[in-house]
Structure formats: structure tokens, C-alpha cells
């Protein structure tokens, strides 16, 4: 079917080509008395995968919405792909892709109709649309399923189609707001392969996630907590603070109860659950593990292996949050 819109593709002014993809200074948003984002500053370089991490309600989504020009900051501002987020929000939105945790496709449209819709919104020429459509169908592994209702696809396919729709206009910067939440591990891995492919093509990716293992895919990270950025750097830099600390991983039955008991100990700085295992940070103290085992056995727990482990991003995150006087 031929499109009614056959205008030629408007040349996209690329903003300032050599600058950073995102430059943010003093960005602040308040809702009444509540400070959602408290004067944050950061930069994202072109072509990097930038991880924006933080617990729910810490200001991640609000920050993204301001960067996409959907809501106006209370004060401060920034540029995205060279365009001012306050003064040129429409320019910003033409030059970015955005995909959220809900993969906001139209469930009652077919695969093809979703593609055609976004192509119409971004004003692709019929030739460009045909090319992108073929590419996305191949990428999302949806060839031959063009006429299926999107609502009937399983979650991994929906997610890849959503990525396809969000990038149909080949943006050089993509915001991904918890793109993999609620997706099974296989689909998550496949999805990250797609993201890595995009990054290799020079696309800048701004990703929020609360899966710490995914954060290791990122070139650089920022932790946001209660509206403030509390750490920023490469994964190594973020963990550097902890490399001198002793982190123990303890296999124990009734993990939650054991954790509560251990947190009462003076020698334990921080503790939290990593899956079914208990992680404790002993700070600069060493070789205290024997003491812990006896302590746990005394309290009637069945204790398995206790190993010293390299600090993970999760350890770093808990450490940072504890320093802020809160809990993750």
C-alpha cells in the first residue's frame, strides 16, 4: 500500500556534531514540595553506553522525561544531540529514540501497522520506510509475521519490535528506560546483543536498569539516589572505592533472618541479599569470617560456604546508599 505522505525526507540538522551527546547542568525538577531530581550534572559522550542506575522513585524516569523534552525542568537544563531541551524540545525528539519498560506498542495494531505508524510520525520516505521495515523485521525475527496483532506476540518479540519502532528513524541517541524488566534471561541476553550492535555502529545508548549484571555492559555509569547523583564513572571506578574492603559471600539457610542477625554485629558495615546468598561488607577488617560462622551457628543457622568475593556493582551500590544514610 502506498503512503499518502510522499514528501522527501527533511534533512536532519545534526546539532553540534563534535560535542557530547548529552550535557546536563543543574537539572532540577520539583513536584510541589517533592524534589524529584535535585540539580544534577553529567555528560554522556557520543557512542558510549551510559548506565543510569538507581532504585525505583529515585528520579531516573523524571530525568529521562526532561531530557526528551516531555516535561520542562524547574531549573537548570541541558542539551541533547546539540539541541536545548527547554527551547527546542521538538528538535530533540526528532533526533532521539525512546523505549520504555512497557514497550509501548499499539497492541491492537499489527506488526506492520505499528511500523507504518512510527514511520509516518517520523516522516520517512516510502523508500526509506521499505528499507527500515525490512531491516527491523529481520532484526526482530518477525519476517512472515507482519500481519499478526502485536498483542499476540510473546514478550521477547514485542521488546525487539519496540526497539525497532523506537529506532525506525535511525536516531544517534536512544533512551532505554528499564527496557528489560519482566523479560526472561534468554531474551535479555539477545536484547543486549542488539544494543551492543547499535553501540558498535556509533549509536549512543542511555540505559536505566536495576539489573546490576546489565550495568556491567555499560561504558560508564551514574548512580542516582533520592534525586542526587551519588557516584559516576566506569564500572571499575565505581567499584574502586570498595576494592580494599573485605566482602564475604555466605551460604546460609533462612537467609533473611541470618542477614538481620548479622546486621546487628559491630564488625559488619553493610549486608544485603544477593539472590539466596548473604553478602556482608566488613570494611577494612579481615579474617573475621571464622567469627561470623560461629556467630551464625550459635544462633542456630546452618552455614555453608563463606567466601571472600570481588566487589560487585551491587556491593558498590549498597555501599553508596548506606553512606547516604538510607537503604537500597
Amino acid at each position: 500500500m502506498q503512503f499518502p505522505w510522499t514528501k522527501t525526507d527533511r534533512p536532519r540538522p545534526s546539532g553540534v556534531d563534535d560535542g557530547d551527546a548529552i550535557v546536563v547542568s543543574g537539572l532540577r525538577k520539583t513536584f510541589g514540595d517533592f524534589v524529584a531530581v535535585d540539580s544534577v550534572d553529567f555528560r554522556v559522550k557520543r557512542g558510549e553506553i551510559f548506565g543510569f542506575l538507581g532504585p525505583n522513585g529515585s528520579g531516573k524516569t523524571t530525568t529521562i522525561r526532561m531530557l526528551c523534552g516531555v516535561i520542562a525542568p524547574t531549573s537548570g537544563g541541558g542539551t541533547v544531540m546539540g539541541y536545548d531541551v527547554v527551547d527546542e524540545p521538538e528538535r530533540v525528539r526528532e533526533n532521539i529514540g525512546y523505549m520504555s519498560q512497557k514497550f509501548s506498542l499499539f497492541q491492537d495494531l499489527t506488526v506492520d501497522e505499528n511500523l507504518r505508524f512510527y514511520s509516518g510520525i517520523y516522516g520517512l520516505t516510502p523508500e526509506k520506510y521499505a528499507e527500515r521495515r525490512a531491516y527491523i523485521l529481520r532484526m526482530a525475527d518477525l519476517e512472515g509475521r507482519e500481519n499478526e496483532l502485536t498483542g499476540n506476540l510473546s514478550v521477547g518479540w514485542k521488546q525487539r519490535l519496540a526497539l525497532g519502532c523506537a529506532t525506525i528513524h535511525e536516531p544517534k541517541l536512544i533512551f532505554l528506560d528499564e527496557p528489560t524488566s519482566g523479560v526472561d534471561p534468554t531474551a535479555r541476553r539477545q536484547f543486549w546483543e542488539l544494543l551492543n550492535d547499535l553501540a558498535n555502529e556509533g549509536v549512543t545508548l542511555f540505559v536505566t536498569t536495576h539489573y546490576m549484571d546489565e550495568a556491567t555492559h555499560c561504558n560508564r555509569l551514574a548512580f542516582i539516589y533520592r534525586g542526587n547523583i551519588i557516584a559516576e564513572g566506569t564500572p571499575q571506578e565505581v567499584k574502586a572505592d570498595l576494592t580494599a574492603d573485605t566482602i564475604l559471600q555466605i551460604a546460609v539457610d533462612r537467609g533473611e533472618e541470618a542477614l538481620a542477625a548479622l546486621e546487628g554485629l559491630e564488625s559488619v558495615d553493610e549486608g544485603y541479599m544477593q539472590g539466596s546468598l548473604v553478602h556482608v561488607n566488613l570494611g577494612r577488617r579481615t579474617a573475621e569470617d571464622a567469627g561470623l560462622r560461629e556467630f551464625l551457628v550459635d544462633h542456630g543457622f546452618e552455614v555453608g560456604a563463606i567466601d571472600r568475593v570481588e566487589p560487585t556493582l551491587e556491593d558498590a551500590f549498597v555501599h553508596l546508599v548506606t553512606q547516604q544514610g538510607g537503604r537500597a
Binding site: 520504555s100 497492541q107 495494531l109 505508524f117 510520525i121
Partner: protein
């Protein structure tokens, strides 16, 4: 604002509507269903009333009296009691709602050109039916009187009924004639405010709204992409209602399409504004549905749509001025039945314009603000 984007949004809206099994019947069957229901039930006329006849005269004249009643179509003879006691039983037992008694001597009185007597007794337990029956009976008797004595001659009086009723504009008092024009406005209100708020809430519920606003779609694009499809659908619904009303229910249209159409378009702004406000007040489609219902009740009751507002207590009557449906009902009914023009209807048009533009702009500003937060 970009026409290309608006066109894409409209195309998407129509594809979605065509897939929505709940929406389609509402959009195109509801107007017909309402027309038929309101047209036949609410708008039904009082006809074939059961009539008891006690004829103690048995003359050519008394037979003509009974004929005049039955041939009118409003009455059918259901009982012929022979005494006052039997007549009372017929009324008490519900075999008849109206009774006429023709005392001995009517024929002689007509010959002598002096006043005759007919008794008409009406069961008043259903005030609407009895009111209409009294009107019919007095009309028939006045007519007979002319035939027996010639116009201006001595009068024949019916017991207790001595009304000269003359109904203007809707001489047969067909309720459907006032119902169909009113339905045009009512259906417009239902489909635009209700259906549009549903469509917006659905989009927010599914998260697609969030997605749309990180694309270059602007607020104006989005709103036009929503308003235009539902405006178009409303126009189709109105056309169907109008044609069924005029062709099937034979409602006379004495007005102009310009006045009726112009009034309805103005009213649609109010309906769209209400739709936007409802969509902001609701998080789920069910809530939107309930809010719409909640708002519909007072509009139906206090606008004159079903019940006359003149009889309302004063404090309630004042409230009716706040309901835009009230003004459009006057406009469509007057234009339909009397052919009234802008000149006569300007106060209604002025009030409607004020309300519609006010509500629409309020809805619009709240809507843009909500999207901005």
C-alpha cells in the same frame, strides 16, 4: 504542528476503532437503538384507550357520539355497561380508563336546539394518560357540538370537561416529534464525550501515550488526531439519526440544516471539553465510563430532554442554566418543528457559545497541563 503526523494519528485511530469489538457496536448501533427505544417507548402516543359506553338515549345522535369517539382512533369500546353501577365496575376493574354516559334526552335536545349533556369520566390514576384522554375527549365533543348545532350555536357540555384545547406546532401531540431532535443532541453528547474520553484513557492505561510524547508529535497534533476522528464519527451518527427520524418516524423537519447543524457543532465543543475533563479524572476505562454515567444523569434530567424543566422547584430550575444540553435542546426542537432561525434563537446560541467555548478551553488547558507534568 504537522498535518502528516495528524493524518497518521487519525489513520491509527480508525484502525484501532475497527478492531475494537466493544466500541464498534456502541458507535453505530447505539444511536439507532436509542432512537428506536426513545421513539417508540418514551415517544409513544396515547392511543386505543379502553372506553366504556353507557348509552341511555339510543338515538341517531347518541350513536354518532360513540362513532365520533371510536373513529378518532384514540378510543376503542371495551365495555357497554347498562347501569351506573356497572359503569363504575368497568372503571374500577380496569376494563376501561374512560367512560362516557349519554343520558336519555340527548336526541330530543339536539332537535330542540337546546343544550345537551354528555358525561365523560376519566380514570385519573395515570396522570399522563388521563390528561391526554381529557384533551382528546373535549376535542371530540367540541367537534360534535359544531356538527349538531353549527358553529356558534348552543353548546353541548361534557360533564366536568369544558376545555378548548388547541395544540400548536405538533397538532397530533406526537412525542416522537420532540424526541428525535433532542436525540440528535443527546447522541452527540454521548458519543463524543464518552467515546473520546475512553480512547484517551485507554491510551494512557496502555502506556502508548507516554511513548507518543517522546516522538515529535506535539500536543496540538495529538489533540487534533483524537478530536477529528470522533468528530467525523459523530457527524455520521447524527446523519443516521436525522435520516431515520425524518424518514422512518416521519418527524417533520421545518428548519434549516444550517441552524440545526451550527447549533450541534457548537454543542459538540462542549461535549469534547467534557470528554477531555473526564479523561483527566479517570485512571482506568471503567472509571471513565462511570464518571460519564455520573455526569449524564443530571444532564438528562435537568435539560428538558425527558422531563419538562418548567415544573422544577426554583433552586433546581436555576441549576438547569448550567447545563449546555438545555440550550441545544431548545435550538434543535424549535428549529425542527417551528423553523425558528438564528434571529429568534440568539439567546440560546449566545449561552451555548459561552458554555461550549468555556468548557472546551478549560478541558484543553487542563489537558495540556496534565500532559506537561
Amino acid at each position: 504542528m504537522s498535518w502528516r503526523r495528524i493524518r497518521t494519528l487519525i489513520w491509527k485511530e480508525f484502525v484501532q476503532i475497527s478492531r475494537d469489538r466493544a466500541m464498534l457496536p456502541i458507535l453505530f448501533i447505539m444511536p439507532i437503538l436509542q432512537l428506536v427505544l426513545f421513539g417508540y417507548v418514551v415517544g409513544s402516543d396515547v392511543r386505543n384507550l379502553n372506553l366504556a359506553v353507557l348509552d341511555q338515549d339510543n338515538t341517531v345522535q347518541s350513536v354518532r357520539v360513540v362513532d365520533a369517539f371510536t373513529s378518532s382512533g384514540y378510543f376503542t369500546v371495551s365495555a357497554r355497561p347498562t347501569s351506573d353501577a356497572q359503569l363504575k365496575d368497568a372503571l374500577d376493574g380496569g376494563q376501561a380508563v374512560v367512560a362516557i354516559t349519554i343520558p336519555k334526552g340527548l336526541g330530543d335536545a339536539v332537535h330542540a336546539k337546546c343544550a345537551g349533556q354528555i358525561g365523560v369520566i376519566i380514570d385519573g390514576s395515570d396522570s399522563r394518560t388521563s390528561g391526554v384522554a381529557a384533551g382528546y375527549a373535549s376535542g371530540i365533543i367540541a367537534n360534535l357540538s359544531n356538527q349538531f348545532y353549527g358553529a356558534g350555536g348552543a353548546a353541548m357540555t361534557a360533564g366536568g370537561v369544558n376545555a378548548q384545547v388547541r395544540v400548536l406546532y405538533n397538532p397530533t401531540m406526537r412525542a416522537v416529534n420532540t424526541m428525535v431532535p433532542a436525540l440528535l443532541a443527546f447522541i452527540l453528547l454521548m458519543s463524543t464525550s464518552n467515546v473520546m474520553s475512553q480512547a484517551i484513557v485507554k491510551e494512557r492505561e496502555k502506556g502508548t501515550l507516554e511513548q507518543l510524547f517522546v516522538t515529535p508529535i506535539g500536543r496540538a497534533d495529538y489533540l487534533l488526531g483524537k478530536l477529528l476522528p470522533y468528530t467525523l464519527i459523530a457527524v455520521v451518527q447524527l446523519t443516521i439519526t436525522f435520516l431515520v427520524g425524518v424518514l422512518w418516524f416521519q418527524v417533520p423537519f421545518r428548519g434549516s440544516l444550517l441552524v440545526t447543524g451550527g447549533g450541534l457543532m457548537l454543542f459538540m465543543l462542549a461535549a469534547l471539553g467534557i470528554g477531555m475533563i473526564v479523561s483527566l479524572m479517570s485512571r482506568t476505562r471503567q472509571q471513565a465510563q462511570q464518571t460519564s454515567m455520573f455526569l449524564q444523569m443530571p444532564q438528562m434530567m435537568l435539560s428538558g430532554f425527558m422531563f419538562p424543566i418548567d415544573a422544577l422547584p426554583k433552586w433546581l430550575y436555576i441549576l438547569t442554566f448550567l447545563i449546555p444540553l438545555r440550550y441545544i435542546l431548545v435550538i434543535v426542537r424549535a428549529n425542527f418543528l417551528k423553523g425558528s432561525t438564528f434571529v429568534e434563537l440568539w439567546p440560546q446560541f449566545a449561552m451555548m457559545a459561552a458554555f461550549s467555548i468555556g468548557i472546551f478551553l478549560f478541558g484543553l488547558s487542563r489537558f495540556s497541563k496534565r500532559l506537561a507534568d
